[in-house]
Symmetry: D2
Subunit: 337 residues, 4 copies
């Protein structure tokens, strides 16, 4: 932490700030310039709110300098983490594609989806059994029966599975049926839930909150990792902006930023990120070109009759075409499908 | 729902859209203009995503027209709801002030706070026992022991209490010790939690999410109310904007907007809304002038040594001064302290 | 500027950064801590992009510490600036109310408006002759004839005038007819225009840009002041947020923040800030309670037939009622109408 | 425009709204449903603010249905516009790369840049002579001498040129020296300037404003086109979001959205969009993968000593490598370099 004094700060003011810092357990380094004095404070700021110092007389600004996350950061671990999802390595050279319907509806629907996406090259089958809906009157999902169904179908095609878990009470079932437990955007800062996920030993897909900064996102990963679970995959799924032609704005630049700040794998969700079928393929290609470790894409054999998010689901043949395009693009950035 | 056709849409295209609407259970009214055709669709759109129709050939735009919340809206209940918090009516003529520290620390601290705020005219004692912190390394609160302590002290001064509940597992304890259960901004769309709160029979203070729209906020209130708990107080606590001189931007205009759209009481939190002590009083006065039904304000006898959010806490004497100013302002808008 | 080195930065890396700083004309103060080294750099960073240093090996973060504005800041001038608009002092104890129609339409309309607002206690007559419209097909204003008309009517009632100037080419006419030249939100960073306004000797009302930070706003004031014109009044008029029930979100907290950072007067525009008549009075009262030096409010004798922004205009009788409420509120914060 | 009545609206209320619509020159179509009545209003709403109707008794909501831009929209012109910049076609199959320094500094610098970018395959030389700077104390550019220099060097290498014009007063010079006149993000809604650009007969590169919606951006294009100049290229350059690790958030999804809504070419600026050299290449590749018609990229032979934006400039060899990657990616979306 750095305490920048005002240009005309008096000596007693500077001394008072130093005394306060020492009292709070910091080592202080003073740097007196022609214009102003700066105090460098080294120590643990965990429980010390920088604003305490901001309001002391003579203080101009307080600047936090440590990155607040540790386990999730590259400083702690320079080499890339590769998360194994039922044997599928996420975070290495391969762009791992997760695909399937938004919502698990019927065995037939899941079978058609799984067949189509497996054939086209996807490795993980997506599908929601518990749905976080803005309105209490919207369809809320088929629950654990959905997961059983997803498991059976995935096994038939040798696919791993990913599905959203909304609450600690659902974790036990999820551990039995789901390979990659997804935390939804609205739960990114549900801290009690994150702590529970820190206790398990299965990979977690952590979606970015709708208006979360990358730092907050990494701190939420830190909650899971601090509990002992290091298998975290980050998922960019679109942030809220002023634009209305897209449902959200998929922040492609988060991909190279995460790549720099963290060793964790990062994947993109162009389906929720855009909300419109016609934008899914361009944004999936963009994410791959920017270096994403994977993609999670909604595919539905009959999107017009899907229970949820049909308009952002690709048809199987569109998904197949997209996979072909991805195979051209991945090598340009040293990856492969 | 209204389906606006493109200027050059053909008759077969219009017919196909009508057929699709009827199939989905809608009654359709057709309006053919010189420039374009508009279809009005009446029915339950709960499980019907408007985007299904957006992607049909010839469709220009789909417009949702019903307000998606019912129990929380003024259409459903025109007269104001008054929520009784241990006998303190919130939502009537009185501007109810809730005050106390951010975090419950010690009996002495709570006693000093309670004495000061009760004497100045506050009716409800605030204080956090479970703290949602962005970083897993920050202080997480003293738990149920804090609530016991808050209860004892509040009883001594005849105050009601408000405190944050973070998870379904904490509800049982909260029911025993807390009069008004607060849902934090980061939990506003924790839907499984909201459903649990719908089952209890105690008032809930629902904070607005950091980037939530007013509609989403009312839909979250709807989740609680749909479960049977009609005692919801809304709390504006600042939204995320690009501004860095304030921690958040307290959206004062949400107060008259809620007043128009909903019968539920709305209060403001100028402490979290601004993050800086010097802005708390101006924003508290502003909220009262805009017609708020109450205020929730952080007060600490020794903010420099507070475990959390000291820099945004008022000193007891500043709080007393603020109450005097509020007594001047409230009558200007037909209210009183 | 402070250069924070990475935890493991080597001595040669630190030396290279110091050499680069010295080369760029900075004095450097080194502070070596247990965890990391911090370099304080004192000098003129005007033309030195901090990111130059960010990309040097071993650098963790670069932090700018000087406030970039000078003439507009309280550090430069601690006492409040009072701007005289044709003899009306803005920035002192009086809350100055500017009122009138959005757009100048006819002599009769202006006369009715001026009579009503003067009688109720307004001191400055607003009215637009040049209108910045998002669409090229919207009404663009009556031009200089409007200003002549506004001038005549204002003189009849002893009012000063305020009106928007959109371009350097309009300044000459404005100087003849308008007392307070308004810069619209979309022009806040039209730097060539700001420079021209720095050359004149009449007060300027500088509206905040739709997504501008307070720092950027003060820097735009600095552009005008650096040219020699110190008569700048800041006007908060609402920022863009995700909320759709209001046209913009009037950032009331900008008022106490500006009060702290700058000596310039700050006024609020609740008409554009909300866009709806029913929210104008609550927000005007809120701004006054937060300490605003003035208000600019749209009033129209026949808003239903106004050429522009009728729905956000108050009727004369609503304006009169608002003035009465303001007279109750102002004394609570040491002001008067 | 559609007027949606409240559920309990009375017959006289409906009649009053119809009368008002007819008075304003609309044809009205009434649709009476079980739940509510909807009025479709056909006519020119240019000078009729929808909020006029919103505030009438019994009205629930007013919905605008026409797209407000015409010349810029695909409805008006379904086939792609190809803009010729000194013979270089922008908007066709080729991804046109514009490259060069942020700021024109010296003949040598421009020569080095031009040589490098021409050799690597760029077709248009960028370089700023007038710089819009947030602070009045920052370097403001070398003016028309810069343009002369850029012209000479570009001619040597057979390149076209692009450069920012900040004001109507600079247009005459620009017409003489610059092939593609750039409108900066902060000038996107400088309407008097846009009107002037409508009068010329040279291509304009219109950057998106920092918080502009796509609709506002297209309406600004409409201002230029309505004046008679149809040669507009849109440039996505990053929008303001809450993220601090990037300077702006390059909205890649704007590319497919523009492709759908408009016939105008759209290019991306990954240099300003990210602000950091290491993110430029990933975002350039992403934009190409999403179907951009071109890229505008900052390249500097000695970025550490650049007068402006050095940290976001690529080195010539990085640019060459990027061009190779682009050559792999473009064919995946049916384009070529």
């Amino acid at each position: 932490m750095l305490i920048v004094m005002q240009p005309g700060a008096t000596e007693p003011e500077v001394d008072a700030v130093i005394a306060r810092l020492v009292e709070k357990g910091f080592d202080v380094h003073r740097s007196t310039g022609a214009e102003r004095t700066v105090l460098g404070a080294v120590g643990h700021i965990q429980n010390s709110d920088p604003r305490i110092f901001e309001d002391l007389p003579g203080v101009f600004e307080v600047v936090r300098i440590s990155e607040p996350y540790k386990l999730a950061g590259r400083t702690f671990q320079p080499r890339d983490t590769i998360v194994s999802v039922r044997g599928v390595p996420v975070g290495g050279e391969e762009v791992v594609v997760m695909a399937g319907p938004c919502t698990i509806e019927t065995r037939e629907q899941m079978y058609e989806c799984a067949k189509a996406v497996a054939r086209a090259g996807a490795k993980i089958l997506r599908g929601g059994a518990y749905k976080p809906r803005t309105s209490p009157y919207s369809y809320q999902g088929m629950g654990v029966d959905g997961w059983k169904l997803q498991r059976e179908v995935a096994d038939e095609f040798g696919l791993a599975t990913v599905s959203e878990v909304m609450d600690a009470s659902q974790i036990e079932d999820a551990l039995q049926y789901v390979d990659l437990l997804q935390v939804g955007a609205r739960n990114m800062q549900n801290f009690t839930f994150l702590k529970e996920l820190g206790k398990i030993r299965k990979p977690v897909l952590l979606k970015r909150g709708l208006s979360a900064t990358i730092e907050e996102w990494l701190l939420s990963a830190e909650y899971i990792m601090a509990g002992g679970n290091r298998e975290v995959i980050l998922c960019e799924r679109g942030i809220r902006t002023f634009e209305r032609y897209t449902r959200n704005t998929l922040d492609i630049s988060a991909i190279p930023v995460i790549e720099k700040l963290s060793h964790l794998p990062v994947v993109a969700d162009p389906s929720h990120g855009t909300g419109h079928r016609e934008q899914v393929a361009p944004m999936a290609l963009a994410a791959a070109a920017a270096g994403a470790d994977g993609l999670i894409i909604e595919v539905h054999p009959d999107p017009d009759n899907a229970l949820c998010d049909g308009p952002q689901s690709l048809l199987p043949e569109q998904f197949t075409r997209l996979m072909e395009q991805l195979r051209i693009i991945a090598p340009a950035v040293g990856k492969r499908i």
